[in-house]
Symmetry: C2
């Protein structure tokens, strides 16, 4: 799992250093307070070095969206264990539970918060909208694969993998939005219900043979 | 339902005129592009009249959050018909389906988009976070009431109204986030599954006696 930890180790190059600096500046100043000066300061680079990498703020933010989504894909990537019940629980747990603690790793709330702030830009920005649509689909396909494996192995009910997967991604998007924008812990209130939904909808034999 | 239509009729006073102007400016320039000059221009007011009403941008944005949440509460308020099955379907339909068309009414995507942009500010702003937590709870309580009525009347299964309600609000928050930030129509992909969830979880007799 260490490979899946975001921000671990030294940044590979100054592009990555700028991306991490943007993440820190976003945490500190919010989206509206992001400026090239602040990002250059965080990255300990001159503005001219910055402009060697990016044309300007818009160019930077498109790259940063790419960076955050890549981190997201890395965090929420489930390696198939051959046991679809385990895999689907791992997937849900990656969204709902805490990252394993790790030096240099921002806590999950910081990553989810940045994700929500970037995602809200998609309301106005068609490039962002296109990218988030693709990423949602990528996550949905990952779940479809797990569900298809489960049906094939005879451990999941014969559901429509597409619709169950979309429904689950919607639930997880709701949890992410709430977690990043509420002052209580909304996960605690829905965790059991999500587990029950999976047990009742997908997993064969939970109520009969277990 | 006309009472529930946002932005219908003339604004009651210049406070409301400024709120509507903020809404239009937000649609046009995005959250990062909101400025007092632009809002004053949209409202056809001088900046000095603006400052008669608000101390500054932060003060305005807190009022605007209040305004958007009031509109939200007005739109998503279900008058009990005495038939809980009908009421819960009305509630879901208010989130998932289109507003009835009405002169001066922005389309639902515009309202949901503004909601998501404001909600993303809560990542950074504790005042916003507190307010959105309250509003989520307000919606949840509305659903709890409908579910309790249904159980009492013997038409809903004996579920835990709190957990089912939280789960449904999470699903609807997920739909709202996706609808406002994707370039396809995510509601179409989950509508049937949400209806099925309600039928299977709540409504007694759907599969046996109907």
């Amino acid at each position: 799992m260490t490979d899946g930890i975001p921000f671990a180790g030294e940044p590979a190059d100054s592009h990555e250093a700028i991306m991490r600096a943007t993440f820190r500046a976003l945490r500190e100043y919010g989206y509206a307070g992001l400026s090239i000066q602040r990002i250059a300061d965080e990255a300990d680079l001159s503005k001219s070095t910055f402009y060697h990498h990016f044309d300007g703020k818009e160019d930077l933010l498109l790259s940063f969206q790419e960076f955050i989504l890549t981190e997201f894909n890395r965090i929420f990537q489930v390696e198939s264990t051959g046991d679809p019940e385990q895999d689907i629980k791992t997937f849900v747990s990656l969204v709902l539970d805490d990252f394993p603690d790790c030096v240099e790793t921002p806590d999950k709330n910081a990553v989810l918060g940045s994700y929500v702030e970037m995602r809200a830009q998609a309301v106005q920005n068609p490039d962002f909208r296109e990218k988030f649509t693709e990423t949602d689909e990528l996550f949905a396909r990952q779940l479809v694969q797990i569900i298809e494996d489960g049906i094939e192995q005879g451990v999941f009910a014969d559901v429509n993998p597409e619709t169950v997967s979309r429904f689950m991604i919607t639930i997880l998007d709701g949890v992410i939005l709430q977690s990043a924008t509420r002052n209580d812990n909304p996960v605690a209130g829905v965790r059991d219900t999500i587990d029950e939904y999976i047990e009742e909808t997908l997993i064969l034999g939970t109520y009969s043979s277990h």
